[in-house]
Symmetry: C2
Subunit: 218 residues, 2 copies
């Protein structure tokens, strides 16, 4: 019974890692659709979100069954409940990638963002990619030393988020209100995506070390 | 043992109802601070969020103990896991109320929103109040017939959210980019607050009826 439970826990862990891959790929492709006004790419991100949602439901159901049938120890239980929380955060990260893709689709065939901000959004996309890859590694390896890296990337995303506010509010902004709102919302999607990843890594730290979970204000 | 568990489940339920009161009061006062540029009120909302966070942690811990010590049945387990999810959603609703209050504080002593939109935000605040009160009632009474009302209010919030977009993007908008962004973000906070409440009521439906939980895209 206990060996079976451990197998199941490993399956949950693999599925969570798979989710980080899917939401990472979704955000990468969403960023590309945004930078290139690529409608096909945007549509593919929007269509793929259902798979992420399904995987999250599957994990939820598996965790539920493990608790009710598996006679988990307290340590197992910490992993299972943590897994439920992590799946929920990853599912929301998928939604945020979908929001970016929908924004790209909304303005197609125009770009959603002014040419001179493409570099900043490319940078945000790159940071999102780094964050989610390392989050996947933290889940897979339980090596929490990577969390410092992730926190640093998250600070960079926050800095870019603040910079974008300054830019759209400056006197030299010539793109009007609609573009300012698009940039602000898009920037917020990346910022929240990164926050959720930080929240996931804190859940893993909580599982691995038993240290209390410290929430992220999302 | 089973009687003890039922007592504890009732305690969790009361605490969740208490959370709806706290996050309802937080959003009410946040709205008032926004409409009146009332710094003291805004500060009180921001200071009170810690209590909401603590209550959420307490519930989480209690649920964890119940699973590990209480030998819950599958039906109990559904309630406990649902309770964990509900607490997380309510905690985020508290954060969103805090975001509104912080926005009011940021522009103090000016109003964050143009005079002519105060009515719309007052309406959003009223809908948020109705939604969260009814959400509290659904948790307390398990009477899921109120969910139709809540869904209707949520649609009204969505409609106001779309209207505000139209207004800030119209040619007659004279308040500039900063005010447009403030209005957009504020409107999004109310819209997400309402979405989280809908998500909570769907969790209750899932607990009460056993019908599958249908996610809300947040």
């Amino acid at each position: 019974m206990q060996a079976e439970l451990q197998d199941q826990l490993e399956t949950v862990n693999s599925e969570l890692v798979e989710m980080t891959r899917l939401v990472g790929s979704a955000m990468n492709r969403a960023t590309q659709s945004l930078l290139d006004a690529d409608l096909t790419m945007a549509e593919s991100v929007i269509a793929a979100d259902a798979r992420i949602d399904t995987l999250a439901s599957d994990i939820e159901e598996r965790c539920f069954d493990l608790i009710s049938d598996g006679q988990p120890t307290e340590a197992d239980l910490r992993i299972i409940i943590g897994g439920l929380r992590i799946a929920a955060s990853l599912e929301r990260m998928g939604d945020l990638a979908e929001h970016v893709a929908k924004q790209a689709r909304l303005r197609y065939p125009r770009l959603s963002i002014p040419q001179e901000l493409r570099g900043t959004f490319a940078e945000m996309g790159g940071l999102a990619e780094a964050i989610v890859s390392k989050t996947g590694a933290v889940i897979e390896t339980q090596d929490v030393s990577l969390t410092a890296d992730i926190a640093r990337h998250d600070e960079q995303v926050d800095r870019l988020h603040r910079e974008l506010f300054t830019i759209v509010l400056s006197k030299s902004w010539t793109h009007g209100v609609e573009a300012a709102i698009d940039v602000t919302l898009l920037s917020r999607y990346y910022e929240r995506y990164a926050d959720h990843a930080v929240s996931v890594t804190r859940r893993v730290v909580n599982i691995v070390t038993g240290a209390p979970y410290v929430g992220v204000s999302l």
